[in-house]
Structures are given as C-alpha cells and as structure tokens.
Symmetry: D3
Subunit: 294 residues, 6 copies
C-alpha cells in the first residue's frame, strides 16, 4: 500500500551507495551548471509535473527517481500513485511532483534515465519469471551488468521477481573452466576451494560434459553450472544432479524465446545475462505545468 | 593502422576520467577480493587469452577494455588484431592477451561488460548513419544515456559515425517547452538566453507547431528542434527554416525503422535516444589458454 | 530584494559542487581540529557577529560565505543586510550572524577568504563593464582562473556584470595558433572543426593578421579572436568582420587602463584575463560579540 | 644546480596532495574533453614548446607546472633552464618541453595558471623579505590564502624567502580577541590553552593595548601578536616583550609600502595577508613549435 | 550533565572528518547490502535497544557510536544514560536507542566496534594518568596509532585524561636520531630546524646519552626526548634539563607496569605507544527488544 | 621461497583497495608535510634501513609495509629476508631498505604501524589455530574488526592460519536472535531467508537452547551458531547437529585460554572476536644508516 500524498523527496537508505551514485550522475549531466534553465527560468518559479509511464511494463527505480530530486534541491515534493514493482498493461500516471521549477528541470533527464533503464530490466525479468514459474524454476541474473550500475540493476531484477546470483567476485564461489585448468582439474579445484571457503558458502562449478559432471559430483560440488549444454543432454544432467542432491543452474545465451524450453528440464535455476545486458528502456516522460510563468 | 605486437596494457588519456571510472567498476565487481580465483589459481600462473567478437557489428571500447587490465594488474600485455571502429560481418578474433592468470580472470567480466555495451551502441549508431547518409543528414545522440556512462556512451556513438549533441546541461542552450512556459513565451525565452549566452554558443529552441516556429525565427533562434512533428508538417517546417538559414533537428522516438522516413525530409540533424537507451549488447567472449597449469 | 531576518545558514544549490568545494577548503584550514578554539572556548558558548565590508566595491560570494557556516555546524543563523552584487562606495555592514561561538570561530577565516577574493573579482569586473558599456561592448572573462576556483571565479565575474566566455575546454571551440599549425592551416582547421562540432556550437578562431583574417572568413569562421592586435589595425579588422557578419573578440593583456581604448573600436567582446588572475582581495572582517562569556 | 636535459615530466612528492590537487584542476578545465584539440590536432602530432617568463620576478611553481604535464599524458618531456626560486630582472626562457601536441595543448592553461599565481606570490614575498632583512625581521605569511590552495601558496611564500606561519587551525595556538572574550579574559584563556596544549607548542596571543600586553606576559604567553598597533606604541610594546623574553609579531594590513616602517620597530616577525590575498599574477607564456604539421 | 531524553541521532561536528570516516566503515561492513536483515526483518519493524558496558572502564566514543546510526538511517533516536568519559567499576547501561529495526541491526556491529576500541584506549589512558598524577607528570600518546584512526584514537586518549602529543608530522618538530645523522649532528640539526620553524613552535630533540644532551642544550633545544634511557641516568638527565629550563619527555616501551617507576623521575611528560597499539577492546553489547514482531 | 635482492617497492594488487587505504593513512600522518624531515634532512640524502622484528611471532603485512614506501616515493628499494607468514621464536631481521632518506623517514611510522598491528593479529591467530588443530576444528575470525581495517585484519588472520568468516553483511546469511524476533520465530526466519537467498549460499542461524536448535534443524538450517552455550550443553548440541549433517560454529568471548576447552567438543568452527579486537601490537623497528651525512 502506498501513501499518495505529496511529501518532500528523500534518499532511500535501502540501496547502499545510492546518494553517491546519483550525485555522480547529476554531476555528469549538470556539469558546471544548467545553462538553459539559469538563463530562461526565473529563480523562484514553481512547477508541477506528472511522471507518466508510456508503455506496458513493471515500474522499477521509484526510490532512485525520487532521490535525484532530493539531491538536486531540497524543495521538491512527490506523491506516488502506483507501487514500485507494479505492472501496467498500458500508459499510466505514476507520480506527481511539485516544487522549484529549476530543480525539476535540472533533475528531469537524470531521473528519467534511471527509471527507464531499471523499469526496462524489471519488465524483462518479470516476463522471464512468468515463463519459468510453472516449472518451479528460479530465474537468476548474472554479473553481465552495466559497469557502475551493478547494485541498481540487480535491484531491478529483484523488483521484476528474479533472484540475484552473486553480486560480485567476493560473495560466492563459482569455479569456471579457466579456474579448473589453472588448478589442474575439477577435483583439485574443488578441493582447493573447499580448503579455504568461508563457512556457509557452497561451491558451484561449471561443467561442460558428463565426465566433468561425474567428477564434480564425486569431488563434492554443492551446485553445478551447466553452461551451453544441448537441450537433450541437459535433462539427463539434471536428473543425475537431482539424484546426487546437488543444485543445478542452466546458462548460456538464454533469451525470453528459449527460456521456456530450458525451464522444462526443471533445473533449480536458470540465469540470463540478457536481463541486464540486453533489456531496452521502458518509456517514461515528465509533463510539466509551470505555476508561476511571468 | 594498428600495431599487432603484444605490449603492456595502458590507460588511454583520450577519454577524460577513464581510470577513475574503471576503478569504480572494478571495485563494484571485485569487492573485497576475487574469492574463486584466489582459492583455485596459484599465484604466478600465466595465461593467454583471445578476445572474440561473436556477432556482426562495430568494435567500440577497445581502449576501455585494455585499461581494465592495466588497472587490475601491471602485468598483462595485449595485441590488437583489428581497429577500434572497424565493422565485421561475422565472428572474428579481436585481440590477444598474455599475462598473470589471476589478473586476467579478475578483470574479465568488467572488461567484457564495457566492450559489449559500447560495441552494441556503436553498431546501432553505424546502422543509423548508414541509413541517413544518402540524405546528407547528420545523426546525433542525446542525453538519454545510462547514468554514469555519459562520456563512454557518447564516445561509442562517435565511433559508430554519429555526432555528439551536447554532452550535458552546461555546453549548449536548448530551450524546451517547459523553459518557454517559465520564461513567458518563445520570444522572451530566446531574448533571455541571448542576453546571457556565452559567445560562440548558438541558441536552439524546441517548437511544436508552425506558430511557434514563426515566432522562434522572428526572435532570432539559430536552430530549431522539431520534436514529434508529423511527417508531412516536418517537411514544410524544414523548408521554412532553410529559407531562414536556421539549423534544423528532428527528434521524438525515432528508431532504425523510421529514421529513413525522417531523413528524407532532409533536416540538418536527426537525434535518436534509442542509440543509448535501447541498444543491446554485442556478444564478445574471452577464451583462455592457461600456460602453467599444475 | 532580500529578507533581513535571521535564518539557518544553508548551502546554495545554484553553484554546482559548492558543498564539496567548501568541505575541502574547511578541511584544509581546520585539519585535525581547531586547537585554539577547543582549548579556550567552552562548548555551548553563543556569539553574534557582523560581517563588515571595509572598502568600496561589489559584494560577491554571499552564498559561499553562508555555506561555509552551514557546513561547519548546523547551528549558525544569518541575516543578509545587502544584496549579492550590490556595490558600496565605502564601509558597510553586510550580514549579521548568530550561533555557536566555536562554529563561528572555526569557519571565520575560510568564509572571509572566499568573500574577499570573489568580491575583489566582481569589483574589478564591474569597473571594466562600466568602462565598456557606453561602447556597447560585452566584457568577458577567460580561463586564466585560479586552479580549483573556476566555477566560483566565473560566478564572480557574472555578479560584476561581465559575461562568461567558455567555462572549460569542452563547452566551446576556440582554435588558436597552435591548433592551426597542427591542423595545417586556417582553412584546414576550420573545416576539421566544422566536421565534428556539436550542433549549435559556433567556431571561433584566433587570427594574427589580415591575411589570416581573410582566410578565416573565407573558410566560414563564426567568430574571430583578435589577440594582441595594434589599436589601428584592430579597428579595420572589426569593420571587415562586421561586413562579413562575423562576431569579434579582442584580447591580449588588456587592463582597466586600456579597456576603454579598445572598446572604442567597438568589437562585440573584449576579454580580460586580469579579472581573475590579477584582482586583489576586497577587505572584509567579522566582528564578534560573545554572548555568554564565562 | 639544475640538470637542463630533457626528461619525462614527473609529479613531485615534495608537496603533499599535489597529484590530487592537479587532477582536480585539470578536470575543472578539461571537463568532458578538449574539443578543439580533438577536432583539429591529429593524434600523434608532436610539438616543442618554450615556457617564457615575461616580466621580472621570482619563479615559483616549477614542480607544479611539470606535474600538470605528467598527469595529462605520460609522454611529455621537460628541461628546466633556470632554478625554482631564482629571480629575473626581465624576460627569460624558463623551460623547454617536448611531446605529444595534444597533451601540451590540453595542459597548457592549467599549468600556466599555477605558475603565474605562485610566481606572483613568491615575487611579492621576496620583495617584502628584501625590505625587512636589514632589520633582522622575519616575514611571515598568514591563513588569508585562496581556499583550496593553502599548501601551494604557503610553498610559494617560502620560495620567495618568507617563513610560514601556522598552516591551519591545528598546528599552532593563536588566541585572538574573540577567544579571549569567550574564555573570560586573557589570563583565563592562556591558562586554558596551557592546560591542554600539545608539548612543544608555544602559546601566542593577540593583544590590543598595554594593559592586555602586561596581562599576557604575566600569564605566561610565549609570543604576542600586536595587531593594528600604531607605530609609536608598537615600538614600546616590543621593548617590553624583549625584556620579558617573549616573541613578537606585528600584523594588520601591512603592505610593501608600509613594511619597512614596521620592520624598523624590530619585532621578531611581521605577517602580511597581502602576500597571498593581493599578489597579482606574474606573466608567463608557452610558445609552441609544432613538429609534424600536416 | 547529560540529557537523558530520547532524541534523533546526529553526527558530532566536534571530530573533524567523522562523517566521512564512519561512512567508509559502514560501507566496509554493509557492502552491497545487509542480506540477512533485508530477508528476515520486514520493512517498517521498530525496535528498542540498550547499549550495555559489560566490564569496568571509561566510556569513550559515544558521539561516534551515535553518528553511526545517524548515517545508517535518519530515524534512530538515542538517550544517553551516562557521560562520555565517565568511568564505571562494573557493568552498566549506557544508552537507550529506539528506531527502525533494520537500521539498528545494520549499524550495530560498526557502532560497537568503534565504542569498544575507543573505550579500551580511554580506559588504559585513564589508568596511566592515575599512576602518573601523584608525580605531576603529564601522560602523552604517540603516533603509534591504528592507520586511519589517528584522530579518533587521539580523541580517546584525551577522554581518558592523557594529553595529545603531535597529531602528525606537520604540527610539531621532533628531531630523531636519523634526522641528526642526516643533518650532520645535533647542533646542525637544531640550527636547521630553528632557521625554518614556524613561529611559536618549539624544537624537541631525541638524545641518547649525556653528551648528546649537553650538545642539545647548548644548541638551544626547547625540549628533549629521553628515549630508552636507564632509570638511573634518566633522573640525572631530568635534573640537568630542569636546571636549563628545558622540557623533558620520557619514552620507550613504557607500560602500565613501568610508568610509575619512570614518573618518579619527574619528567614533564611520559609518552606511551601502548595506549593505542596495545589497548584491548572494552566489552559492550547492544540488547534488542523488537517492538512489532510478526 | 623469497627473492632477497633489493628491488623497487611496489603496491600489491592482491589486497583490494590497498593503495587508497595507505594513501589515506599517509595523509593522516603526513598532513601538510613532514616538517622535521624537510628542515633537517637535505634533499637527495640517501639511507639504508633494516626492518627488525623484536619479539616472537608471525610476520604479517609485508606487502602493506612495502606499499607504504611505494606510495611515499618511487625511489625506495626493498629486499625481504623472510617470508610473509613465517614465525620467529625471537628477534630477527626482516627486510632491508635503501633509498631517499626523506622518503624513508616520512613513511616509517605509518609502515611500522601497519606491520605491528597485522603481525600482532596473525600471531594470536596462529596460536589459536595451533591449539584447535589437534581437534580438527577450524578457527574463524569475526566482524569485530577495527573500523576501516576489515580487509587487512581479515588478511592477517588468514596469514596466521585462521579462516575468514563472512567479510561483511552482504556475503553471508547469519540469522541472529534479533532477526528471529523480528521475523516471528526461527522457522519463519529460515523460510524467509531461503526464499530470497542467493544460490550457493547456506543459511546459518544462531540458537540459544535445545528447543531452538531442534526448530532450526527442522526448518532446514544449513549451519548453526552456538553462542555462549555452556560446555556440557555444547557437546550434546554438536552431536545432534552432526547426526543431522548440519555445520556447527561455537562463539562467545572465547580466548586463547578457553579455546582448547571448546575445541574438545569438536564443532566444525570456533570463532574468536578477540583475534581482531584484542590482539596487541608485535614490536618492530626500523634502524637507519644514513649514507650521505653532511
């Protein structure tokens, strides 16, 4: 449930580092000052504006949109008309803003750029989740995010209903082919990882064929990543893992077109890089009413 | 022309702020340390790797890709096999790398994330330029970029052959509807801008109809932005501007499907937000050969 | 019009990056702590203080002065008695402050250092504008600013009535002798610039003699910089440019003593590096009344 | 003694924080990129340049000038022809540079802005020292520096032969009128300071009349600041302090015109805010020879 | 006297750089988000908590503890039950907190880590001061602090009743053996220091034997550091210094066990590195009552 | 095996953020410049120095010590005589340094502060590991680290042979009492965590009695934290967990005196906050030989 009354914009503390990130984005856009606004909009002018979602999809990034205006100027108020994460089948009004016209104009583009990208990601994630859900498969994101936007893009996939895979190289162990080669084999790699792994962290390993899979299971892997397996083989691999009580993840160029096909093999997880590297923007605009034109 | 010999990776000084930006992206991915690599890859292991472009398109971001490895570790060398900005009709080898295996593994994802996104943008830009070129229309990007990546994404559109519109709110004057409303009309807005504009900076103004266009021309606008005009009207508007010796720009939800249609009206410029907000990643991978497995 | 009532100090959002800049200046002065104040002024002591302008000139930097106290401590209030940009023929009271004595003492020097320098610049700019105005010549500043203070010093010249030339190397095109030499001549340089210039950005070029001027005009320059021309020649050059409908700027060691002489040649602009590199401080002081001595 | 051979530019480690400070100054000037240079100067062009001092004075800031080019690009070399701190009675060549033409052009203004300001300060300091020296009086600078440039401006006064007063609020105890009022009197202030002062730090106190001076001496002040005393009284005050074996400092609007008068009273120190708040730039220029024009 | 009513947490302005320091500490602990709290504690849950000191000692770091919660979330209130610097002979309740349960849980560990360390230091300092006080010897800390915590650890020694020696290399002159060797002897070193020392800064020099002591006194040292002298010799050295009216400091591996022995020699100062490098944490805990469990 | 030849100091890339962290520590100590060294040590003086470990223990922090000198000045070389992580029963020479005397003196204290603290921690960790090893119990560190030093202190515990528990709040799920209360019970908390946990991350939960333990096991906990259990009960709890194939961790004020007692109960892990909050410094010194005294 949301409160639709106007109140001052604020920076959410839910997303770590949000204020710093937005401050950089604003500095990037505003640079040494918003020249057009300074020259044409008298100081003290007030305006109202409506945030409009112009295409079907899931709203994600509302707290980011709001924080932009909290950081541009202390004097912009906002009322949310719909909830973060809610989906719409078409155009809708999303929020009302009121405040200093200069602040609204200066923050507009940055705020829209965030909400358009994050909603685009959430919308794609929601579609993937919808397809996979009947198979009881959990959809995961990946580390294929836009550099600098990891935290926000992973937030958007969660809003869309997907679950986060590890956030970086430090909060999970995923042994890939190259690690295996450097370690001297699957067994050696798993043993080395086990010897130094933090408590309560499982060991996931990528396997490319059945021999590798068998070796990984024998060496005690907790979870296997079946990357780019063909559809027939992947079903058999998952059966083997299920018998061994080992978690399974499928990945490798999976799209909205192919996810259903893979979900039918009933892995525990399917991960899609496309959620973050190939989602396109969801269209939003900010319509103004200037209150004190001169 | 490129030099294909291996040499140490370096940070280009051509892109302002590149080192800081990459350092943040690496910190975001590496966090408190690359756990899997530390546990499974012995210190001192060497590897070679090939950067492969896996789909047709324009390479953009080579200096960024390289700088990632310069910042992860001083001991990775690179040889470029193709030139930044070159296009390929299919899969190709793009670069060879050699160095510390841990450094290569730790930097891999961040480096790929950059080159995939920037090449995706350059590829889309190149396609737009190709369509518009016969009409002698210049393709522009917009400020609808990913927050934090403005400089790099604008670099990518240039690599693709488009030209940059203003980089932020401080290096150009573009008077939009809301500025006009706040200023008290088109004439007032142009006069206010003229009175304070830096020397050598033209004044561009958005106009929505012919009355606005006439007023803008009468008030001395140097350039007009015809945003969301219908195709018939836009032709007439451009004729009027050409007679008045005023520059013209068309914008408003233009895509690769519609740009040709608008280019035929022969404006000076067409700008596409889609170049940066809706380009999808171009697929690249890094294939390793570990040189000293144990 | 100003409101002379006491209210809490605040950081203006009009000047991009102001808070960060002041935070650095305070850190520079305060270092690891204001030793004298901590040892001699009991916590909780209150004081009032008056900001006094001690010499004739233009007040500039009021928002900066105020922001210093907003950042030292949340508990200093201020009332402005005169307006930013107003000129005085002699000594005057400028503002009243009230608040925590420790905060007032700790911020005093930094706040005064800003207002003294910025008012010195505005005062010199105002004098230049006054001399040039009868000739309808616009006075410009330059990039010869104190490193790190570009934004503030350019703000101060505006307060003094001058107009800002470009703020940096990225918001204007000014082709100088060295660019011409590297490009292979005036025509080549202008063509190269035109081919890549952002829309709505004119091309200004420095010319040293009449041959260069003619070539620049023929190549389509929008504006010429006549740097260090002799007074006779400059008049003729300006006539040529006026006929060609090209903007003119004069520069080169111009001072308050010589600006009138050059203004009589009626260029569009005269730029003075001296506004920022050779303005001296305008004298201000802060007189305290401690309210709760012990 | 200096080595006049060309060698790569480097960042001096003698001045704390120099690299960060210059990086900020460059970012301020270059912004999102040096547009003119990128468009008109082909990549790979080489140039030579000479740094010329165009007016009499003391060179200060050579390591700062050099560091700018070290930070713009790794490929600029420099040869110094004269020593930091040396004085010239007229125009002279100061350094030779060689390197990438783009780097030289991009760094030029920032590098000159530093050396012009610092040399202006050193030149004024040298003149003050010259006047005071016959009286065996040490010239001091103050905290009236340009915000953000404290360390560099204090470096420049040292180069000019003056000595640094405290660098900030944390490395010395100087009890002023307002501290005295807040502490409840001179004696109370000195006692409070003594009770918490770091070992090896003397206590200096400002006194405004003979009664205050006597109380300060009785309370055990180590050094007194005679601020704005009249010339007759100040002589008597210094005699009293000399008898009491207490250090003396004179301050208060002292200029090059008046310093000799005050020095004749033979205090230990005279401090001049004017060294940093009212020194004007010493004129320098960078003359280029482009080596590979096209 | 303290006010025991609940009020919103705030960041003290008394400790320079406190907010930045805590922000880094929180970022270090929270990283990309508090996973456990986000998953298990519903948004909006409220809690109360009591800060308990579990062992005898001096409370130090209350403003730091409080500032952590001010920075985690604006909505945590605190009431202090005892004063900063107060000592307890056993377990006691120190503060009450009330606010958002997520904020309390996320900030808990960082806040405790600060107060435990700082109270441990203050407790050790208080014990040293207690032992030295009867001998009228002032206890000093040193620069042997935890890297990054200098300001806070020096604050803690003050809270414990010790006095701060210099805070860094820039706010005092202490000539050690190595400086003497490089300068060419004690006399040369003192003369060199005197020639450039800021006004009001004494010169302290380390001496290792009586010959050195005599030379230092003859050269005009203001203060001598007797480092690692034997107990008999140190008494004689102090007598010599007292006669010469020179300040004395003893140092060198002094502990709570040995400080009394050295204090009996009645130097002016004894400095202990152990206060900061070997103090152990004082035990604190935060006990929660969740107000709205579900 | 180590290479004992002198080579230039460098910054290790193994420890994320090391350069930034040391830069801050140096800035904290050096401030506005090393006054004593600048005044007494002539520029260009060279010195050699030996790093000496003066007490028994494990060396940790060698790469940090070295990086300090890499960052102070590019011209200090080092030769390591013993390996990081090696233990000594007494005093030993650890490294030889050679370089600019000013750089060595300026970096000395910061470098020693790091190596003393980290070696103190590693030494304590090694002792704990030695006691626990015969029982096949893994020793863990905790989040009770010095704020700002998390990464380095966790590195030191690894050097001492312990294993790292989670590095922050984002790389592991550990449900404590307060989370349980807020979630509405053990079962609810585990279910909530399971529903959103990243793949491959186990769920650890703190239990305080047998009822809680049974509920946690029934709800599917992967690992339990037995905090402050009495020695008899803990044995029984571990037996229950072993039967359920669930990992066990013991914690709660465990010291070197009591760890053996708890290890005998044969949990999988024992964690000690004391490793980081109560380790004392291991004594090191740097002995200089100045090579070019004057």
């Amino acid at each position: 449930m949301i409160d639709t009354a106007l109140r001052p914009c604020r920076v959410s503390t839910e997303i770590p580092g949000l204020a710093d990130q937005i401050a950089r984005a604003l500095a990037e856009d505003v640079g040494r000052g918003d020249l057009t606004t300074r020259l044409t909009v008298p100081a003290g002018t007030r305006a109202r504006a409506t945030l409009i979602q112009k295409a079907p999809g899931v709203l994600a990034g509302a707290p980011v949109f709001e924080a932009v205006f909290a950081l541009v100027d202390g004097d912009v108020s906002i009322a949310w008309l719909v909830e973060e994460g809610s989906a719409s089948a078409g155009r809708r009004d999303v929020a009302e803003l009121e405040g200093d016209a200069r602040a609204l104009l200066t923050g507009e583009r940055t705020a829209l750029n965030y909400v358009q990208r994050l909603s685009g990601i959430a919308t794609m994630a929601a579609r993937a989740v919808e397809i996979a859900a009947p198979f009881e498969v959990t959809v995961l994101d990946t580390r294929k995010t836009t550099p600098g936007l990891r935290t926000l893009e992973k937030y958007a996939t969660r809003i869309g209903g997907a679950r986060n895979h590890r956030l970086g190289l430090d909060d999970g162990i995923l042994i890939k082919d190259n690690h295996i080669a450097a370690a001297g084999g699957i067994t050696a790699a798993i043993q080395a990882a086990r010897a130094g792994a933090p408590p309560a962290m499982m060991i996931e390993i990528e396997v490319g064929d059945f021999a590798g899979l068998e070796e990984a299971l024998a060496a005690g892997a907790d979870m296997v990543l079946l990357d780019n397996w063909d559809p027939i083989a992947v079903r058999r691999a998952i059966e083997i893992c299920d018998e061994a009580d080992v978690w399974t993840e499928i990945s490798g160029g999976i799209t909205l077109d192919t996810i259903g096909h893979y979900a039918a093999a009933r892995p525990d997880y399917i991960s899609l890089g496309a959620l973050t590297h190939s989602a396109t923007a969801l269209d939003f605009s900010l319509d103004f009413v200037v209150e004190t034109p001169r």
